[in-house]
Symmetry: D2
Subunit: 170 residues, 4 copies
Amino acid sequence: MSQPIIGVMGPGEGATEVEKQAAYQLGRLIAEAGWILLTGGRNCGVMDAASRGAKRGGGLTVGILPSNDRHQLSEAIDIPILTGMGSARNNINVLSSQVVVACGMGAGTASEVALAIKAGKPVILLHVSSASQLFFQSLGKERVFVAADEAAAIALIYQILSHPYNPSGH
Amino acid sequence: MSQPIIGVMGPGEGATEVEKQAAYQLGRLIAEAGWILLTGGRNCGVMDAASRGAKRGGGLTVGILPSNDRHQLSEAIDIPILTGMGSARNNINVLSSQVVVACGMGAGTASEVALAIKAGKPVILLHVSSASQLFFQSLGKERVFVAADEAAAIALIYQILSHPYNPSGH
Amino acid sequence: MSQPIIGVMGPGEGATEVEKQAAYQLGRLIAEAGWILLTGGRNCGVMDAASRGAKRGGGLTVGILPSNDRHQLSEAIDIPILTGMGSARNNINVLSSQVVVACGMGAGTASEVALAIKAGKPVILLHVSSASQLFFQSLGKERVFVAADEAAAIALIYQILSHPYNPSGH
Amino acid sequence: MSQPIIGVMGPGEGATEVEKQAAYQLGRLIAEAGWILLTGGRNCGVMDAASRGAKRGGGLTVGILPSNDRHQLSEAIDIPILTGMGSARNNINVLSSQVVVACGMGAGTASEVALAIKAGKPVILLHVSSASQLFFQSLGKERVFVAADEAAAIALIYQILSHPYNPSGH
């Protein structure tokens, strides 16, 4: 039986310092909780910071890359999955995660949150604008949560994973 | 040299009558303009209505299906592309369209608008809430347009296609 | 109700003159039969030659491209589908075709023939080595046909399409 | 820096006892060598047997599933990647593996060997017919190896991984 897989999505090159620090902290806490971290795998932004945090926390990191080679692979990824399918891989990111955390917002992240809602996955929003919250909560209803900080996001993940309804894709 | 391909995206089973009527009208006008219509190809909602409108207008219709068979294929599709890849096909919808029109909003449509912005494609929003407009315009800036009605959407498409910058994926 | 879609697959840059001439002739005959031609869409080898033949025959051509732009698009493609997913698009090629014709053999073509067999699609082999015939007939049994020339391939397609068993993906 | 990822492909439901025993042994030896095992992830045939062997050997197992849920997931998979894209996921299997081992042959496996050759990945054939060997060696030339047994396959993987040319996708 595999450990829960938690997806952390967010801006790449355009990530802010605040988003990257939150992602690092989030990755560390996810690892310390004993969960596997899944990201987009590249060596920038939220995905890289979350993966480095998870390694700092002693965890395992999976990266689902858009490319077919390792040129942009984050050094903090243990399991690089090379899809060679660009942004279409975003759907794999969300299908493979029991819970999706969006840390910051961009076009790619927005597509992942929307695909997660479409797939019935719980989504946690962190460091996103009120316009983003409003839009995604109207779209995903009670499956979309807003977390005030990284610790609150972790508490929400515990709550979601322990819920009688198994969100793992069964 | 192929004709321009215009993508029309929108809710499936959950589409309202207003959205379906707008989609039908949009499909007819796209066909009458000599453009090829591309949709998600299923026999419901906006994709079906737009395709039926395009056939009424004497046009050609392409449907990019999530399934690997024709069970849910709209009868108004001339060229069914069976992807067998579920919502990951949403990225193909937007990559293959020179302009993406969202007629109504849902989780799948939101993912397509976000993926279109990610890919640098112009997007036209029709019959969406002000929360959706606000969110996607903050995300996609000057590449996201809002149309008051179907005729205005068509006028925007003409304008986009005639622009010196070629939005066809070059 | 859409016209039958016939897929023609074969080597790209590495195609021989014989393969390209056969592909051109095949494309022309497919168009003259009233069928839609589907290929990999690039501007080289069997896919380009078959598409040019189909246009010569007055037909409609669909190209499923591995790229996310039109840089390598054959000029003879009416409907370019940009997948941005590299060789993973090979599965779309075969799922979307009622019959798959392999004209010549290479690694990409071999993957398409294997995926077609996996999906239960009828396959016709043309201009392939006896080692290829032996291998694929042992793999696909009575769903794999060998054609002596283009006219024989067309006769086989007529026969397959008229068969009570509908090979269209139902 | 991640450990090498070795892909083991082969028949699912149709696998023979000999193939499953070889796959189990192969998985165990891969794990004992310190490599990560990657398979198609389902609970049958070569993929299940190899994964169980790798767990027996104390290793880590990744499964790239064709489905979007865990219904057919092998219990021996640590990291299930849910693609929801059917056989199109076969390309991800080979792109993500530094070396691909085919243990037995079927239509899906043949597509993976062909896609591996297309992607320039080294392939090792084990328990395949002489027709398969002949076909794939003519297709992939010096990148296609034949192993007499599991130990020989492992020796070949060591040799390939130590080669100055880095086969990891760079």
